[in-house]
């Protein structure tokens, strides 16, 4: 934290002179019932050190036994990422001392990962530019066990430095982790930050659709390290990379890459060199600060884990798992687009707003796709933005939106009333039907009640009426507006329009 505020080069200026190279290492906590090598439960939020046993505490004499469900999840992830699945591979020990690591080594995989050489197609949505496709190459997917968690008490920063004492919670120790490593991603230029975000978003959706993890970045079940390096534009000679940790949201992924590009450009412009190090991202300021230096490479003394036998998934089993994969997000996206008849841009807008699932559920509940899309991206997104929350956090269900949409289509509500109904639903006043009943918000389509208002409007606007009589039916909108005002918006606009034209001899 002693580092002074770094100088930055503006992003556009940085990209004009440097090509960025990014790479992502993502750790996913698998949602298995028990830990990687013992039977302890994996639930989040239990009292410290209550989900532990001799094995995950690494007590002398204890031995690991592989959780078959974790292997299965990892293979499914590998298959969904188009990887080759190893016919035979081993765990390895990664040796280093740290109090939150019960055995002072981590069981991981080293030179024999379970899944290798895959890819994930992602759609990059840059602000103010059309979406573009990017194929991200996956280098490897491997398994390892999570460590415990250190809590540093006292001191100002909550970091180990300056703390009075530290507590360790081993509940997390031994929870199965899958690490997904991309190959370096080059050629994205100014899209690098958006590309990083798009990759993590797509990966998160993929993992969620596989049901292997709850992929909650805020709870740490999806953790991302972002590697960034620069090369002078067009030179292809990549500089030293930094590894940014503590990137805990999709937005942060994008900001972290952007910041590192700006910071590294400034360092290189000043003729200094990039230090090989881990950097910590700070959510509040959107900046990174130097962490552990990697200039002197730590020697983890990897060697094959002698306590475990090799993993040798049979080709039949792998084929079975492949056949049983669910519809993956990319395929689903394509299917929905063709079913709904939406353009690429429309779909991109849905994706960006995180509204794809909501719209799909609203359509399933009976709404027309265009209507469902209109509600979620229009009215409801505005409300979510005002409140500063995600669409999914709004207090309205897709089924309720579908009901409102249905009432509008059948003429039971007009748009204005529909908005009032949704406001009431969002305010917790009940379902759309309950709100309508309680407030008497039904559309007035009774001709006798409407005719009086129509006649009143004609009388008050003789010149407009004359134009309509003369065949300029477009002018009917003025009279319609007047009727809507007198009926406080509850009139059935279509019927009012018909009545106006009828009255003025245009029917």
């Amino acid at each position: 934290m002693s580092e002074t505020m770094a100088e930055l080069v503006g992003f556009d200026e940085a990209i004009a002179r440097y090509d960025p190279l990014i790479g992502l290492e993502t750790h996913v906590e698998l949602g298995t019932v028990s830990k990687m090598f013992c039977g302890c439960p994996t639930g989040f939020g239990a009292e410290p050190n209550t989900q532990v046993c001799p094995v995950c505490l690494g007590l002398p004499g204890s031995l690991p036994v592989v959780n078959a469900a974790a292997i299965e999840s990892t293979i499914r992830i590998g298959l969904a990422l188009n990887c080759s699945i190893a016919g035979w591979c081993r765990f390895a020990r990664k040796n280093y001392f740290y109090p939150d690591m019960p055995k002072d080594f981590q069981i991981s995989q080293y030179d024999e990962p379970l899944c290798t050489d895959g890819w994930l197609d992602v759609t990059v949505h840059p602000e103010g530019a059309p979406p573009s496709q990017l194929r991200v190459e996956i280098e490897r997917v491997h398994m390892e066990e999570d460590t415990g968690k250190s809590l540093h008490k006292g001191g100002a920063t909550g970091r180990i430095h300056g703390a009075d004492y530290s507590l360790v919670d081993y509940n997390r120790a031994g929870i199965p982790l899958v690490e997904i490593v991309t190959k370096p991603i080059a050629g994205t230029g100014s899209l690098a930050p958006a590309a990083a975000r798009a990759y993590v978003t797509e990966l998160r959706d993929l993992l969620r659709s596989l049901g292997v993890s709850d992929v909650r970045m805020e709870e740490g079940s999806l953790r991302c390290d972002v590697n960034t390096s620069l090369a002078p534009r067009g030179s292809g000679s990549w500089g030293t990379r930094t590894e940014t940790k503590n990137v805990n949201s999709l937005r942060s992924v994008e900001r972290a890459v952007r910041y590192e590009i700006e910071r590294q450009a400034a360092v290189l412009d000043a003729g200094r060199r990039i230090v090989l190090e881990t950097r910590h991202f700070h959510e509040d300021s959107g900046t990174t600060t130097a962490g552990r230096s990697k200039e002197e490479a730590q020697d983890y003394r990897y060697f094959p884990e002698p306590d475990l036998v090799p993993i040798a998934p049979s080709p039949d089993w792998v084929a079975e798992l492949r056949a049983a994969l669910p519809e993956l997000p990319a395929a689903r996206h394509a299917r929905l687009q063709s079913e709904w008849g939406l353009s690429d841009l429309d779909m991109a807008a849905l994706g960006n707003a995180g509204a794809l699932d909501l719209v799909a559920q609203t359509v399933s509940a009976g709404a027309a796709p265009a209507e469902a899309r209109k509600w979620w991206l229009g009215e409801l997104r505005q409300r979510a933005n005002t409140e500063g929350i995600e669409l999914t956090a709004l207090a309205v269900t897709p089924a309720q939106v579908a009901r409102v949409s249905e009432l509008v289509a059948s003429g039971g509500l007009n748009d204005k009333l529909a908005r009032q109904v949704l406001d009431a639903v969002l305010a917790g006043q009940g379902s759309p039907d309950e709100v309508i009943a309680a407030r008497g918000l039904a559309v007035v389509s009774d001709d006798s009640a409407l005719l009086a208002a129509v006649d009143e409007a004609i009388a008050a606007n003789p010149k407009v009426a004359e134009k309509i009589r003369g065949g300029k039916t477009a002018a009917a909108g003025v009279l319609l507006g007047a009727v809507m005002t007198t009926t406080r918006g509850q009139a059935d606009a279509a019927r009012v329009r018909e009545l106006i034209l009828e009255r003025l001899g245009q029917h």
């Binding site: 007590l59 004499g61 690991p64 002072d104 490479a297 020697d299 003394r301 060697f303 002698p306 475990l308």
Partner: protein, 512 residues
């Protein structure tokens, strides 16, 4: 009566107890008395649990009285190497760093022994974390060889071997990583078996070298060793390297005890120069004996055995450097220098500095070096290749013969302190035993007489293929029976009597 009880074999004790001729409590008390009488000088035990032992014994007596079925070792006392975790007794591994540690869980082997009705007397001394061949590396002082209290009982399972040889217990458990069961058995004049790797569970065995550690039995007769072998072995889902196959029929093989028509290979590379003449003399007689019993003796060459010892001293330290990392003062055991001024890292290194003995440190440093980046291929990687070659030597040999034999050790028991400052000399004690650890096959040591040059026990090693443990017992039992007939009594009858008051007198009988 007491002396007679402790001189019985485990098989005799079990049947006497089952028949009601003697109670389990009487048998246990007799052994507790023996420990009280002699262990001050033998120092086989680090911890004696008299109350727990007597309670277990009276539970056996109660079962018998109630007519309930008894386990195969019901009421038979046993000495457990202090490397097995026990939920009701401390487990120290002979190390200061675990002094006073009380495990919260039970090892699979001791759980099975208790289920078989065995009565655990206590925990026996060992070289620290099973690293050594003499028990001199124990943080709690060496054990002594009952044949000559100035000599080592071998190691690392020296405490269990000494307890069995001194009639403090009829049975003992050990672990064999480079010879830690067979070598002490040989120099104490008893039987010791390293089962096939994976044949007995390592769950709850504090690890030295995971790919080598093998729990096994120590006993005074081949049949007793087989009974214990059978009771402690079998597949364990808690140990991934445990073999999911039936335990080989070791008890039946020990009872069969004949070698008629068997092909027995004498390993050229295990003998000759550097071996004690008295050891070679007794080994030669054993070969003649086997031939006279109807076996076909074939000379077999295992050309890579000469590289086994150096390969072992890369593989075992490498694994131990990782296995012993967990002793970091954070969760259990010793903690030094935690006075509020030191970082966790400083407390870790102070504790490890104070808590580990010299030999353990030597091996951790050796292993850390061998696994280092840039050295891995030349050391650990190369050693693994040697391991493969040694295994192939065995495969080839077992294509020609049923079992292989050699001396168990190049020399008889050496004097306490004699090799303490010379690690290389100490390491040579395991010259004959290490190949079977590297290859993971079964190997038994049975007494084959006293070396004519120093009057100390010599062991005959019988090596059998993976999961061919029964073959080793069959040959061992045949040798045991033939020698007993020749001598007219068991070899241990020649050991000096250890009396309560002073050094033992010389043995009353002679082998001639």
């Amino acid at each position: 009566m007491t002396a007679e009880l402790t001189r019985m074999t485990a098989a005799e004790m079990a049947s006497a107890i089952a028949a009601g001729q003697v109670s389990a409590v009487e048998v246990t008390q007799a052994h507790l008395d023996a420990i009280a009488a002699v262990d001050g000088r033998v120092h086989a035990f680090l911890h004696v649990s008299a109350e727990i032992a007597l309670a277990a014994a009276s539970a056996v007596d109660a079962r018998r009285a109630a007519g309930q079925p008894l386990g195969p070792l019901a009421g038979v006392p046993i000495a457990v190497k202090d490397v097995f975790t026990t939920a009701d007794m401390p487990t120290t591994c002979g190390s200061r760093i675990l002094d006073g540690w009380q495990p919260p869980y039970e090892s699979t082997v001791t759980r099975r022994l208790r289920e078989a009705g065995a009565v655990i007397l206590g925990k026996t001394n060992m070289d620290e974390f099973a690293m050594g061949s003499s028990t001199e590396n124990s943080a709690f002082g060496p054990s002594r060889n009952p044949w000559d209290l100035t000599r080592v009982p071998g190691g690392s399972s020296g405490g269990s071997a000494a307890a069995v040889a001194a009639f403090e217990a009829p049975l003992g458990t050990g672990t064999d990583t480079g010879g830690s069961i067979r070598q002490p058995a040989a120099v104490c004049g008893i039987v010791g078996m390293k089962p096939t790797y994976g044949g007995s569970s390592r769950y709850g065995v504090v690890a030295f070298a995971s790919s080598l550690d093998t729990p096994g039995p120590l006993a005074r007769t081949v049949l007793d060793a087989a009974l214990l072998h059978e009771a402690m072995s079998g597949h364990d889902p808690c140990d991934s390297t445990s073999i999911d196959a039936p335990v080989p029929p070791v008890v039946a093989a020990a009872q069969q005890a004949d070698v008629e028509g068997m092909r027995i290979g004498v390993v050229t590379e295990l003998g000759g120069e550097g071996y004690q003449p008295g050891v070679l003399a007794r080994f030669g007689e054993a070969v003649e004996l086997l031939e006279s019993l109807g076996a076909k003796i074939i000379e077999v060459s295992c050309p890579h055995f000469g590289y086994a010892l150096p390969a072992y001293y890369l593989i075992a330290p490498s694994e131990c450097s990782s296995n012993l990392a967990r002793f970091d003062a954070m969760r259990y055991g010793l903690r030094c220098g935690d006075d509020g001024t030191r970082s966790a890292e400083e407390v870790m290194s102070l504790t490890r500095g104070e808590g580990f003995g010299a030999e353990v440190k030597r091996r951790i440093i050796l292993g850390t070096y061998a696994l280092s980046s840039g050295y891995y291929d030349a050391y650990y990687g190369k050693a693994q290749q040697v391991r493969t070659l040694v295994t192939r030597d065995f495969d080839t040999a077992f294509g020609q013969v049923d079992v292989l034999i050699s001396p168990s050790t190049p020399t008889t028991a050496f004097r306490i302190g004699e090799r303490a400052d010379d690690p290389m000399a100490m390491y040579l004690a395991d010259l004959c035993t290490i190949p079977s650890d590297l290859a993971g096959n079964a190997a038994l040591s049975v007494p084959c007489g006293l070396a004519p040059d120093d009057g100390l026990p010599v062991g005959l090693q019988i090596m059998a293929p993976v999961l061919g443990d029964d073959r080793a017992y069959r040959v061992g039992a045949a040798v045991e029976a033939a020698l007993r007939e020749r001598w007219g009594h068991p070899l241990l009858d020649e050991a000096p009597e250890l009396t309560a008051d002073g050094m033992g007198a010389a043995g009353a009988r002679s082998t001639k």
